[in-house]
Amino acid sequence: MLVIQIVLIAAAAGLVWFFVTNRGNSKASAGFKLLFVAFVMLGVYAMIRPDDLTVVAGWVDVGRGTDLMLYCLIIAFAFTTVASYLRFRELEIRFARLARVVALQNADAEDRE
């Protein structure tokens, strides 16, 4: 069980670190898309040939292929949660700035009256 723990935790940490430090540039967003495509293709492959996945799981000392899939899914979910939180915060900030400009313009117009 030790191998998979190290691999998954390192993958999670690496992923989060890469995307969080490179957010917003084209490299990161291209990387995200490639990663997503790879993830989906792997998922489809695993559905068609589940036994292959179990073999891969055996290499890293995980009992079944479904378990391996589940671990990967948890990592992916945690990652998208962080990514969408940051995305929402950025939108909030832009929204607040927009609303602020409107508020200040209205107040200035009123002051001139």
Binding site: V20, L86, F95, A99, L104, D111
Partner: protein, 251 residues
């Protein structure tokens, strides 16, 4: 009256607030209609310039402020078209105030009547006299520590104890809404935390910009009204999460 009592209550007419013409009070307002009129009327005896930022209130707070403008002409009203949060309201108020000619000192002041005008006067005096950029109120400086509700005291104390930054800067109160600062601070201030996390963010900005900071013991009037409206302690969790991820946001 819910607002802070002055030691020398002045009559409503013949106010002498001309000495504070370079001071702007920034009051974020969100659904404070029962008290906001009294709070600003009381504060305007001492500080003529007050900008109330109505953060999309739905309870007639704006009408109360309009009514107060009749007796206190220096009161200004800026209205957010939608509710954005207290941090955003403070930032809007500061941007309004710093664009006014002659504005030199700025104060963030709560709308619920828990801050005392006397404390603000003392803080402004220190800004004028001492080489500091910002004076932050603390509930733990003087003799009034025990008036802070027990659970709240424990939580606030723990936040400060756990924060390396607070200890380095010598700050004893993590989330005091009463702050007075000069133009240096106002010009560079850019609060991004829309909600309640702006207090932590404020301290972070003090640290980053190396503003000279000091504390002033203040009395918080925990009225029944302000207690009911006060932020829930669960907010501490939100504040913590915001703080952790905040550094990663693009400005």
């Amino acid at each position: 009256m819910v607002a802070g009592r002055s030691r020398n209550p002045r009559p409503a007419t013949g106010d002498d607030n001309s000495g504070n013409a370079d001071v702007w009070l920034i009051v974020p307002v969100y659904n404070e209609a029962p008290v906001i009129g009294d709070v600003i009327a009381n504060a305007s005896h001492t500080f003529g310039n007050i900008v109330c930022v109505d953060d999309g209130s739905t309870d007639g707070s704006a009408e109360q402020i309009r009514a107060a403008q009749q007796v206190a002409p220096g009161v200004r009203l800026v209205r957010h078209p939608v509710n954005l949060g207290q941090g955003a309201a403070i930032q809007t108020g500061i941007e309004y105030a710093r664009a006014r000619p002659g504005a030199r000192y700025f104060v963030t002041f709560d709308a619920d009547g828990q801050h005392r005008v006397d404390d603000v006067e003392a803080m402004i005096e220190r800004l004028r006299a001492e080489p500091v950029d910002i004076v932050i109120g603390t509930r733990f400086g003087g003799s009034q520590t025990l008036s802070v509700p027990f659970l709240r005291r424990i939580v606030l104390r723990s936040i400060v104890f756990l924060s390396v930054r607070n200890r380095r800067l010598g700050l004893t109160d993590a989330h005091n809404g009463l702050r007075a600062f000069n133009r240096t601070v106002a010009d560079d201030l850019d609060l991004l935390m829309n909600g309640m996390s702006h207090a932590t963010e404020f301290v972070g900005l003090v640290d980053r910009h190396k503003w000279r900071v000091t504390e002033q013991p203040v009395t918080i009037l925990y009225t029944e009204y302000s207690r009911a409206k006060g932020q829930s302690l669960f907010n501490g969790v939100n504040i913590l999460a915001d703080g952790l991820l905040h550094a990663r946001l693009r400005r």
